[in-house]
């Protein structure tokens, strides 16, 4: 009779998977916090030009978005149009008014407005005259939003 019995095989204890959800949740929260949904316009056809020399966009919450391109909606016609923060620009001076109203909001005027970035998302084929018209409104002395960034694709 041996001391080491071979009769009964001992089963390995099952590995506890109780901590697995915790790990996965941790990953989940990480991705939820670090990423933001890709902002894509639903109303404008856009093909941004490429550039070699680029900077990274920071402070996305401090930018006002300008879309310039042909509208996806055929009812709006086939010419290049401008949108500011999802609103179609329909008359001259509308952008200046919009910015002026933002500037008047007390909690924006001090910190936010002084660092505001005008982010242009423009279709590569759009005419510069349109871009310049928008920028002329930004230069209006009553609003003076002078910092402009052009959204581009990086060329490798």
């Amino acid at each position: 009779m041996s001391k080491f019995s071979k009769g009964k095989k001992r089963k390995d204890p099952a590995i506890s998977t109780a901590a697995l959800p915790d790990i996965v949740f941790m990953l989940l929260f990480f991705f939820m916090v670090t990423t933001k949904p890709k902002k894509d316009s639903s109303f404008v056809i856009l093909k941004e030009p490429q550039a070699f020399e680029t900077a990274e966009l920071e402070k996305n919450d401090k930018s006002i978005l300008y879309w310039i391109g042909k509208p996806k909606n055929p009812a709006l016609g086939d010419t290049y149009r401008v949108w500011v923060d999802d609103a179609l620009v329909e008359s001259q001076g509308q952008i200046t008014t919009y910015l002026y109203e933002l500037k008047q909001i007390p909690e924006y005027s001090e910190v936010w407005y002084s660092e505001v970035i005008n982010l242009f998302k423009v279709d590569g084929k759009a005419p510069m005259g349109l871009v310049r018209d928008v920028q002329e409104e930004l230069r209006d002395p009553s609003v003076e939003a002078l910092r402009v960034q052009y959204s581009v694709k990086e060329k490798k």
């Binding site: 998977t17 109780a18 697995l20 959800p21 996965v24 949740f25 990953l27 989940l28 991705f31 939820m32 670090t34 990423t35 933001k36 949904p37 890709k38 030009p49 550039a51 070699f52 020399e53 680029t54 900077a55 990274e56 966009l57 996305n60 310039i68 982010l119 423009v122 279709d123 590569g124 084929k125 759009a126 005419p127 510069m128 005259g129 871009v131 310049r132 920028q135 930004l138 230069r139 209006d140 002395p141 003076e144 002078l146 910092r147 402009v148 960034q149 052009y150 959204s151 581009v152 694709k153 990086e154």
Partner: protein, 240 residues
């Protein structure tokens, strides 16, 4: 009544649910940061259209057919716009001293002594005439120059304050053409700044962090040597 034991809830499918959420966020989100090109619009002033000496301006013209011309004569080839524009821009900032007259903007040597003297005298003047904007503006410029001298080791060469790069565009010039021109200018500037930074501090200008005070000083100094002054002119009256 006998106490009934509560059955344990099976939590093994919790992981599956979490995985499902995780996969969803992985697929719908992107790590890519948006890429941008910076520009600062000029302030609106009373006198639009200041007369500039031709040698102080590097004119880049893009017409309605998206042809690019530098200094009204050099035709830029399609396909290599960025490289060719960058070449001209580099020449505009760095050129042999012998051919500077009437062809290129003047370059001045700025020394620390000169800066200190100017700052001292302008401080007195701006205190005497607090209403005069010119003195306080000059003082600001000279203080910046002094800062640049201290960082760059005593003295540096500065291109004339009047030197600008002028981009003239037609109203129907395509936006992508403008981005190409801008890209050329920015490529040249970054190259020159990187080179200077490598020479002085053995690192790239683009690696500097503006949030660190020491590095911000270096950045400011390098930007004094190679300033970004772009001026977008109104459309050409369909000059073909």
């Amino acid at each position: 009544m006998a106490k009934r034991e509560i059955e344990e809830i099976n939590a093994s499918s919790m992981a599956d649910i979490a995985f499902l959420l995780l996969v969803f966020f992985l697929v719908t989100s992107t790590f890519l940061k948006e890429k941008v090109q910076d520009e600062r619009l000029p302030q609106k002033t009373e006198q639009e259209g200041v007369k500039l000496k031709p040698y102080n301006v590097l004119t880049i013209l893009a017409n309605k057919n998206d042809r690019i011309l530098v200094e009204d004569e050099f035709d830029i080839n399609e396909g290599s716009e960025v490289e060719e524009i960058a070449e001209y821009v580099t020449k505009f900032y760095i050129h042999p001293a012998s051919e500077s007259e009437d062809k290129w903007p003047a370059v001045y040597k700025i020394s620390q002594k000169q800066c200190e003297d100017s700052v001292a005298s302008l401080t007195i003047k701006s205190e005497q005439f607090p209403d005069n904007q010119n003195y306080s503006m000059d003082l600001k410029t000279w203080k910046k120059r002094l800062g640049a001298c201290q960082v760059l080791g005593g003295s540096y060469n500065e291109i004339s304050e009047k030197a600008v790069i002028g981009i003239t565009l037609d109203n129907s010039t395509k936006y992508e053409t403008y981005i190409k021109v801008l890209d050329g200018i920015l490529t040249a500037l970054t190259d020159m700044r990187n080179k200077l930074c490598q020479e002085k501090f053995q690192r790239d200008y683009t690696d500097l962090d503006a949030d660190i005070e020491e590095e911000k000083k270096i950045m400011d100094a390098i930007e004094m040597v190679y300033p970004k002054r772009i001026f977008k002119a109104k459309g050409i009256a369909s000059a073909e």
